[in-house]
């Protein structure tokens, strides 16, 4: 009987110690929400930033949807290899009190989608044609797929 009491004590002590350790471990591991998506956001935002700065986005306002598609297909290849993404450009004109869609183009680098998806956006304006544009870039990490055995 003494042995049994001793074992129950030990189990209780172990359970308490485990719970304490688990709480401490979780607290030490706590990261700001979204921090794990920082790399993915950088990948999406970097490409839109350089496209905006070198005038690429604004130049889309005066191009055909076909030409934009062709350029987007090249630009999306700049995305680092371990990412996939969907890059969309929508051009609007403000008329009759609302925004009317003029053209929409997109390029996709497809692969198995992970659960961490981030979307970066840029808004731009082409003064000569008085057109507004939205560039949206949805990016996700390429899922590692095991080869069939």
């Amino acid at each position: 009987m003494k042995a049994a009491i001793f074992t129950i004590d030990a189990m209780l002590a172990f359970l308490l110690a485990s719970a304490t350790f688990a709480v401490i471990a979780q607290t030490l591991n706590y990261n700001s929400p979204g921090l794990e998506k920082q790399n993915i956001f950088s990948a999406a935002n970097d490409l839109l930033a350089v496209m905006q700065n070198d005038g690429t986005l604004v130049s889309y306002a005066s191009q055909s949807a076909l030409d934009i598609n062709s350029d987007l297909a090249k630009k999306i290849l700049l995305l680092p290899q371990n990412f996939c993404g969907n890059l969309t450009i929508s051009i609007y004109k403000y008329q009759s009190g609302g925004f009317a869609l003029q053209k929409k183009s997109s390029a996709l680098r497809n692969c198995v989608a992970g659960n961490k998806t981030v979307k970066a956006k840029r808004v731009f304006y082409d003064s000569p044609s008085q057109q507004y544009g939205i560039a949206e870039f949805e990016v996700w990490l390429k899922e590692r797929v095991e080869a069939p055995k």
Binding site: A3, A4, T7, A10, M11, F14, S18, F21, A25, L28, N29, N31, L35, E36, Q38, N39, S42, A43, D46, L47, A49, V50, Q52, N53, D54, L78, L79, P80
Partner: protein, 352 residues
């Protein structure tokens, strides 16, 4: 006795459960700490790479070239301090289209057209280009067969020096820089149209580097050669002449021509001046449009070790830190950025 046996079995079972729980908990804790370490490194890689990219509105993601140049002059410990990295790191800047590491100086901007004439005396630059990351094509004026030991991407050869040079001119749009080593081609060997193509190439941002002690090919661009000397003194540093003290004296193996510094037809930077004559440059750089033209009478000096001190044909790469060959934990970051007119990747690995 029977009861004792049961107690013993119960104790054993409970103790096994406790033992296995401890093992499982330890494994969980180890995995958790490991994953936390990777997250920290990932976060560090991202923060540090952001420091090197400009953040100002309208000029986001422009690579801070000054910071990179500043880093180049520091040792590893100082580089880590500047970047704020507590761990080890390896960083490089590569062109997005070719994967080639970006150079911080030097004349060989890939793809390079290299033209030379005489083996083995006048292929010194071929030996420099060999087995580097530079993409280069070889135009060979001596014969249709390539000289021994070339690693060029494409080879164009003929024993007609003018014909070979004309092939190069016809292909200029394929290159970012031209390196011409003792080709002995004269300006009037080229048609007016070919001369214009050379000027257009430089104005559009090309580099034309010409090694020649006694011909007038440079006059295609405007400057006319005058009497020079084999004795020079360093006046300025440049991407082509790096970390050599101003005032250094040297004697070229061959040096007869130079260029006047008075009223030059193009903006002129004197890198090596004729000794005791400030009106003559021997190693000269003219800017024209977005590009540049270099002239040097010889890449070799009479010093025992040969090459002009500080002369950078290949150039040093934007590559820093230590590769993670023996790491236990590593995280990488690849950022898309702009450097001048090129899309580049800033690759950073932070590791333990």
């Amino acid at each position: 006795m029977k009861m004792k046996g049961q107690l013993f079995t119960f104790d054993l079972a409970v103790s096994m459960v406790i033992f296995l729980s401890i093992i499982l908990f330890a494994v969980y804790l180890y995995g958790s700490i490991n994953s936390s370490a990777i997250s920290e490194l990932e976060s560090s890689a991202n923060i540090v790479s952001s420091k090197i990219l400009s953040k100002n509105y309208g000029s986001e993601n422009i690579l801070d070239k000054n910071l990179l140049l500043n880093l180049s002059g520091k040792n590893y410990a100082e580089q880590r301090k500047t970047l704020g990295i507590a761990e080890n790191f390896y960083m490089k800047v590569v062109y997005a289209d070719t994967g080639e590491i970006v150079k911080k100086n030097g004349l060989a901007h890939s793809p390079v057209a290299y033209i030379a004439r005489q083996y083995p005396d006048d292929v010194g630059i071929m030996r420099m280009l060999n087995n580097t990351g530079v993409t280069w094509d070889f135009y060979w004026e001596e014969s249709a067969a390539p000289p021994v030991g070339t690693t060029a991407r494409h080879f164009y050869g003929s024993n007609d020096k003018v014909q070979t040079f004309k092939w190069l001119v016809a292909n200029l749009s394929n290159y970012d820089s031209v390196i011409s080593e003792d080709t002995h081609v004269k300006a009037d060997d080229l048609t007016a149209g070919e001369q214009q193509k050379l000027r257009d190439f430089v104005n559009a941002g090309g580099i034309f580097f010409h090694v020649q002690h006694n011909e007038n090919l440079i006059s295609v661009f405007g400057p006319m050669p005058v009497a020079g000397s084999d004795k020079g003194i360093v006046k300025n540093n440049d991407d082509a002449l790096v970390d050599v003290a101003v005032g250094t004296n040297l004697t070229f193996q061959q040096g007869s021509d130079g260029f006047s510094t008075i009223s030059p037809p193009l903006p002129l930077k004197v890198l090596i001046q004729k000794k005791d004559d400030p009106n003559r440059c021997l190693f000269c750089k003219w800017t024209s449009g977005a590009g540049a033209i270099y002239f040097i009478p010889d890449i070799n000096t009479t010093n025992p070790n040969g090459v002009v001190p500080g002369l950078k044909i290949i150039g040093d790469a934007f590559e820093f830190g230590i590769k993670p060959d023996n790491s236990t934990h590593a995280a990488s970051s690849r950022r898309v950025a702009k450097l001048d007119n090129d899309y580049v990747y800033l690759d950073l690995i932070v590791w333990r």
